[in-house]
């Protein structure tokens, strides 16, 4: 009986992993051979709706000045009719609030929102920011992101199409050289955006709004019910609600935004854990509505199922390995076991944003960054790490679900400017290692002397 069960599990794993492999292969070949769908970039600079930029921040003094100054450099009109930036200081205990107030004194289009009460977390902060915002389009950034000069124009261009409810830009790591992990994550991101996201958009499937470096139309957000403060993956949550209601989600590969990826494996573990739990929670919440939606095509629904179930492949792979071990000891080897294991391995990169190695290979060629591809075999380490981390996270998630508990939000650790070690005292003055507010003032002084 155990052997029979193991054989069934092995076959199920084989079928699921083969399906994911086919999906990733299709995406890679589509990107190599097919033309792209309209990405609206020709409209950049011509369609300039009113925009509110929301930046949730919790203890972000290490990175807050960089994103504010990057937005000050943006080529979007900095007048009240067109642009407001709302950094949301969400229960910070460091100098983030003082830094934001300092910038607000300097730039009238910065309107900091200080949250000291109420529910914590990114989704709650975004909800508060949305209530304060006046823009027709809401663009969200994580605090560690660095938007390029033209990013806002590229991101808002697709909103000229009234059917577009959300837009996603491409995320590119800027700290690639920091460690082996950051180099591997750079490959992963390249495959995930250049091939996976773009192919999904081109094929009329569900491109994913990633919660940062992307925008949402206020009307679409309201019809979808706003930000879900109960979700650990508010981006996937919103993506599904928009898609189910028939809103288009556009992906603009040209709209590049630079992020700080985790430099330590511990930081990566926490990030993957949060994504896995939040994403799988969305699977339980939206699988039924997705399949019943009258607004989606059959192929979009099918791909939506793949998208929602992607983190479940990690425990499935582990189950498949256990099944093959049982079959091995039962003398049931030969082809079926071999194929199951082989496909499970080659499809290994189907975890999270992890693309298969075909996708990563195709993306580095499209990017013209072929030297990076030599690191690809080392991604096996990332695969093993992600598979075990996701499997453990999902065990925690299902155990918590059974007990009726929700898991807390884990903020991703920052490494820029000393990882937020600059502290400020109660008057908002810098102390400790001298970073934080003093950096802002020093930069302002440098700008003033430069302009004079």
């Amino acid at each position: 009986m155990i052997v029979e069960a193991a054989r069934i599990v092995a076959v199920v794993v084989l079928v699921v992993m083969a399906a994911y492999t086919a999906r990733h292969l299709l995406f890679a070949l589509h990107r190599l051979f097919s033309r792209g769908r309209m990405d609206y970039t020709d409209l950049a600079g011509f369609h300039l709706p009113s925009v509110s930029v929301l930046i949730p921040m919790h203890n972000e003094e290490a990175v807050a000045p960089d994103i504010i100054e990057a937005l000050a450099e943006a080529d979007y009109p900095h007048d009240p009719q067109h642009l407001e930036v709302i950094p949301i200081n969400d229960h910070s205990t460091d100098g983030t609030g003082a830094i934001l107030d300092e910038y607000a004194r300097r730039y009238p289009w910065i309107k900091p929102l200080h949250r000291k009460k109420g529910k914590r977390g990114k989704a709650a902060a975004l909800r508060a920011g949305t209530e304060a915002a006046r823009g027709e389009i809401l663009i969200a950034f994580d605090a560690d992101y660095l938007p390029g000069r033209s990013l806002l124009k590229f991101l808002v261009a697709p909103f000229a199409d009234p059917e577009v409810g959300a837009v996603m830009g491409r995320v590119v790591p800027h700290n690639v050289g920091a460690s082996l992990l950051t180099r591997l994550l750079d490959l992963e991101r390249a495959g995930g955006y250049q091939v996976d996201q773009q192919a999904r958009y081109n094929l009329g499937l569900i491109a994913q709004y990633g919660g940062t470096a992307g925008g949402v139309r206020r009307a679409a957000l309201e019809t979808a019910g706003g930000w879900n403060t109960h979700s650990l993956a508010e981006d996937t949550d919103l993506t599904l609600r928009l898609a189910i209601r028939g809103w288009k989600i556009a992906y603009v590969n040209r709209a590049e935004c630079y992020e700080e990826v985790p430099e330590t494996w511990e930081g990566r573990r926490r990030q993957v854990e949060r994504w896995a739990i939040g994403h799988t929670d969305c699977l339980h919440r939206y699988l039924g509505p997705l399949l019943r939606s009258p607004c989606l095509t059959a192929k979009a629904k099918l791909d939506g199922v793949f998208l929602l179930g992607v983190y479940l492949t990690a425990p499935l792979i582990l189950l498949g390995w256990i099944a093959t071990v049982i079959l091995f000891f039962a003398g049931q080897t030969y082809l079926p076991v071999w194929v199951a294991f082989f496909l499970a391995s080659t499809s290994c990169n189907a975890v999270g944003n992890f693309a298969s190695f075909f996708e990563i290979g195709s993306s580095v060629l499209l990017d013209g960054a072929e030297r990076r591809i030599r690191l690809l075999p080392l991604n096996v380490a990332n695969f093993l790490f992600s598979t075990t981390t996701v499997a453990v996270a999902l065990i925690k998630y299902y155990a918590g679900r059974a007990r009726g508990r929700s898991l807390p939000w884990n903020k991703t650790e920052r490494h820029r400017n000393g990882n937020g070690n600059g502290w400020t005292n109660g008057n908002g003055e810098a102390n400790g290692n001298g970073r934080g507010l003093s950096v802002v003032k020093a930069r302002a002084a440098a700008q003033n002397s430069g302009s004079s």
Binding site: F33, T346, V364, E370, V380
Partner: protein, 239 residues
């Protein structure tokens, strides 16, 4: 243009031709493989004799080698000593090994532990003798060799680079796969001879399919790296 749909069909055509060649010359290739294993076993001081003929595919067969493996009835402490050594190495490795590679460290003690559990609770011997292990090995590896041209057809032949570069990398991959397979099989048989069948699942899984997967990705990345550099040079010349 870097990519052309016609190149995909070129890749498929090459994959069909290479597979046909492998099947046509299969018995001869497997015979060479077997001789490499014989030579390596001789080097390791492992006695062997010719076993049965295995039909891997219709018209493709290989003579298996019959070797012995350590009998745990007469050496009952060996499996425990192996497991203890593996656990000790794991404990040492956990302190020095980077976090992402730690799951790999668990593979040896885990596979040995499961096998020992099987040997003490289910049966005093594993279900396979070394000849059976070679049977499984030859079947798996032969199917893999037939699959390799298709992996490259989809991932590498689609690039608009000279045919000699594509064929060169495919030949190199197949040659490496062939030689590395013989080395691993000989290592496995020698390990069973000296340390017993406890190591069989480890060689089947970690030193078998996982090792196959690693070199396939490594060759793919190296080939793509070289092809990408060539394409970049072309772009520069054109600009």
């Amino acid at each position: 243009m870097v990519f052309r749909p016609g190149l995909l069909f070129q890749g498929f055509a090459v994959a069909i031709l290479v597979d046909a060649l492998l099947v046509w010359q299969g018995s001869r290739l497997l015979g060479w493989h077997s001789r490499v294993v014989e030579a390596l076993l001789q080097l390791a001081g492992v006695a062997w004799e010719h076993g049965k003929d295995l039909a891997v595919l219709p018209g493709v067969s290989v003579g298996l080698l019959r070797t012995s493996y350590l009998d745990y009835q007469t050496h009952p402490l060996y499996p425990w000593a192996c497991l203890a050594a593996a656990v000790a190495l794991l404990a040492l490795g956990l302190r020095r090994c980077p976090l992402p590679l730690r799951p790999l460290l668990y593979l040896v003690p885990l596979s040995l532990g499961i096998t020992l559990l099987y040997l003490t609770r289910v049966s005093p011997t594993v279900p396979y003798n070394p000849e059976d292990f070679s049977t499984i090995w030859y079947r798996g590896e032969t199917y893999l060799w037939l699959l390799l041209p298709w992996i490259f057809a989809l991932g590498f032949f689609v690039l608009n680079v000279p045919m000699r570069l594509k064929m060169g990398w495919l030949s190199l991959l197949l040659s490496y796969s062939f030689l590395w397979s013989a080395i691993r099989l000989a290592t496995a048989l020698a390990t069973f001879h000296y340390l017993g069948s406890l190591w069989m699942p480890f060689f089947y899984f970690a030193f078998g399919f996982l090792a196959d997967f690693l070199y396939i990705v490594a060759f793919y990345s190296l080939a793509l790296g070289q092809a990408g550099a060539l394409l970049a040079r072309r772009r520069e010349e054109w600009q």
